[in-house]
Structures are given as C-alpha cells and as structure tokens.
Amino acid sequence: MRFAAYLLPWQFSPTTCALFALALMLYLRGWAVLRGESIHIGWARPSVFLLGLTLNYAVLQTHFDYLAQHMFWIHRLQHLILHHIGPTLLVLSAPVPVLRAGIPDPAWRVLSVRGVRVPLTRLWRALQHPFIAPVLFVGLIYFWLIPSVHFTAMLDQRRYLLMNWSMLIDGILFWWLMLAPREAQGASALGYGVRCIILTAVALPQIVLGAYIALTTQPLYSIYAVCGRAWAISPMLDQQLGGLLTWIPAAMMSAVGGIVVLHHVLAEDRQADAAQAPRAAQPSVGAPA
C-alpha cells in the first residue's frame, strides 16, 4: 500500500469530516478576523490547537482507524487520544476567543435566540456540574469497556461512531472544566482546589480498571478474535497492553492536569501581587533614602 493510502479514511464518515472541517474553518476565520483587528495571538496557540485537531482527526479518519478496530491496545490508544490528550491540547490552546471571532454574525444571532441559548446554556451547566462531569468522564470509559457493550460497538458502525464521538466530546467538556483558567470559564468558574480533588478522583477508577484489564488472566474482549486482529499478536498480550494504556498514561493525565492547575494558581498569585505592588511600594516613595 502506498503511503498516501494510509492517510485516507478506512471508513469514510461524512459527519466526522464535516465537523472537523467546520472546526478548522471557524478557527482559521477567527484567526484572520483577530489579525484584522490587530489582535495577535502568536504562533504557539494556533500550533497547539491544530496539533490537537490533527491528532483527533488522524485517529478517526486515517488507516489508524483500521488498526483501532482490529487491535484492542490500539483502540485504547485511540481513546487515550480522543478522551485525554487531544482534548487537553485543544483546551490548552485557549481557542474560545478565536472560535468566537470565527463564528459569522448571522450564525451567532441564531445561537443568541432565547429558544436556542437557554437550553444550550442549561445543557452546558449540567454537563459542567462538578459532580456530573467526572462521573460522566469515568462512566463513559467503564461503559464502553463492558465486554458485551464493547462487542456490539465494534460490530456496528453507528455504535462505533457514537462511542468515539462520545469520548471526544466528553473529553473536551471535562478537560475544559479542569484546565481552562477561571477567568475564561466566566461566572460559573470552578475553583482550583475542587479541580485537584476531581483530577485525583477520576485517576483512581481508571487505575483500577486498567489494572483489572491488564492483570486478568482470561481474554475479556472476544470481538477481536471473532473479527480478526490487525496483525499476529497473542490475545493476552494485546489485552495487557490495552490495560496498561488505560492504567498508566490515562491516569498520568491527571498529574499533567494538576500541573496546569498549579500553573494557573501561580499565575493568579503573580497577578494579585502585581496589583498590590504599587500600593506596597507607596510608603517608600516619600521615605528618606
């Protein structure tokens, strides 16, 4: 197979391609609009955003998807990207002002209509609830890894798409709640202390599940034997690698999240110090040298 063929979708999904194209167009348009207003966002943020977008796209709509359908550990790697790494990159690029600038005015007016805005806001608030968000985050991982559910998700194209999209969307929602600076989250911003608790709380069940999968001595996911593996590998090794990917890097992302939160805390501290500095300096102004 020629190299270019590996870049083509294994199973073309018009919805997936359309949504990625839309995100890319909104971002590029927003970037251009901001430049027009002489607002420069540098190169780092767009690079991180485009890297996140590309990674998510690559695991869904290239030959990688074939491997993910036919090898358990590649499937776990796919979800590590869709649910953890890809969304983290997207959120860290602080894309909201750019995307907001990219939305054409007529579309923004539609979004601002009460009948659209109110239910969307309610849904957003519910999904960003500090109890619901982590439960959903861990719940989705567990749900799609129930062996009988996993079996049908791998057999049915629509469920497979639903599974992957639920991971990506939930990943973006969760990591936005965890990693976006408080000022970007607006009125309902979540405190940094609560975020650290949530990050720890979601790591534990991922460790338990990953360890269970890696250390179980029987094959849990028969679908890969039924439909065939992408290359010759023992079913147990495939399962152990998949378990390790669920266990270690996934849980490590909580530590990465903690570092980002710490960074926000320090940045806020510095800002507060800078705001107080002039006042602190004042008494010394008139003081004799």
């Binding site: 009988s148 079996f151 049908t152 034997a225």
Partner: protein, 198 residues
C-alpha cells in the same frame, strides 16, 4: 415525588435502557443476535464457476458468510465441516441454506482451486473470489480483518483472518453471529428457526 426526584428517576431508567440496548445479545455460548447491528448482505464477486454473482442471487435462502482460505490448516476446515454437519441435520430443508466462503487469499485461491475445495463440503457451499477492491469493500462492510503472515523458506504462508460466521435471513438481513466452537446441533436449531421465519 418532587420534580427533581422524578427527573433523576427518569434519567436512571433511560441510562438503564441504554445499557441494556447496547449490550451484546448473547444466545448461548457461541451465538449472538446481530439483527440491526451488522449491514445487510451485499457484495459483488466471482463464484467458483467463474460467474459474477451478487447478494441478490441468494435472496430467499438463509446465507452463512465466512471468510477464509483453502490453504488454511485448522480453522477453515473445522468451521466448514461443522457447517456441513449442521446443514445435513436439516434434511431437505438444508437445500435452502447457502454457505458463502469468501477467500482472503485470492492470490493462491484461483477459481479452480476454490471449486475443488468447496465441492468437498457439499452442494450448498459457494466459493467467492473478489478483486482487491471487492474484497476490501466486503471486509470493511463486515468489519473483519485479514493479513498475510511471513512466508516460510518454501514460500508458503498463512493468512490470519476472522473466525465469525455471519448468518443472514432469507431477505438478506443480518440475524446471527456464530463464533468458532458453535456446535452443529445448535447451528441446526437456529437455522431451522430462520428458515421458518418470514
């Protein structure tokens, strides 16, 4: 019940339904109900007599679809022999059952080789050979995989492939998935039911 409690209860019921709906519908150890999960039968290939055939040619028959290759040492002969056994148990009704054996090794499995191979299993067995594009379309549609192993010193090689038998009803809709190890008696019972249903 307060509105909040009612909403929570509704959410719990909905989640429960979703959980049940997404789970595998296991029928015994080796059989899964795949109605609505797997695409209806559709393909274009060449049969063991060199004729171009499509799914439409097998409408009205219960179709068992299996991917394999004639040089296969154990999985394919075992599976095909079990299917032959199950069909034999159906008596005269067995004539309305068709096994489509799709080769994943078209390089070695020429039409002539396929014909000799499937004839050994009985008149209900059809060997199908596709171009690379036809075979790729089919393995994407049924979400199965195959790949050639490294050849040995004499150039002989094995092909890793799926083990599933997809079973379609008389209208070409996917009905059951038989995993390897499904006993002929169980298969015969399920095939009889499929032949009886519309």
């Amino acid at each position: 019940m307060s509105a909040r409690a009612a909403r929570l209860a509704a959410l719990a019921v909905l989640t429960g339904l979703l959980l049940c709906g997404c789970a595998q519908r296991q029928l015994g150890d080796h059989m899964t109900n795949i109605a609505g999960l797997v695409e209806p039968l559709r393909f274009h290939m060449t049969d063991q007599d060199g004729r171009p055939v499509s799914a439409a040619d097998y409408r009205g028959e219960v179709v068992l679809l299996y991917f394999g290759y004639t040089h296969c040492l154990d999985a394919c002969p075992t599976t095909l022999a079990t299917l032959a056994d199950a069909i034999a148990r159906l008596g005269a009704q067995g004539q309305r059952v068709r096994v489509l054996f799709v080769t994943v090794d078209p390089r070695r499995d020429t039409v002539a080789v396929l014909k000799r191979y499937v004839n050994d299993f009985g008149p209900q067995f059809v060997g199908l050979r596709g171009t690379h594009a036809q075979l790729t379309r089919m393995i994407k549609r049924y979400r199965v995989s195959y790949h050639d192993e490294k050849p040995d010193a004499s150039g002989a090689y094995e092909v890793d492939h799926s083990s599933a038998v997809f079973i379609f009803g008389r209208h070409g809709h996917a009905r059951l998935l038989a995993q390897s190890g499904a006993p002929a008696a169980v298969l015969a019972t399920d095939l009889r039911q499929l032949l009886a249903s519309a």
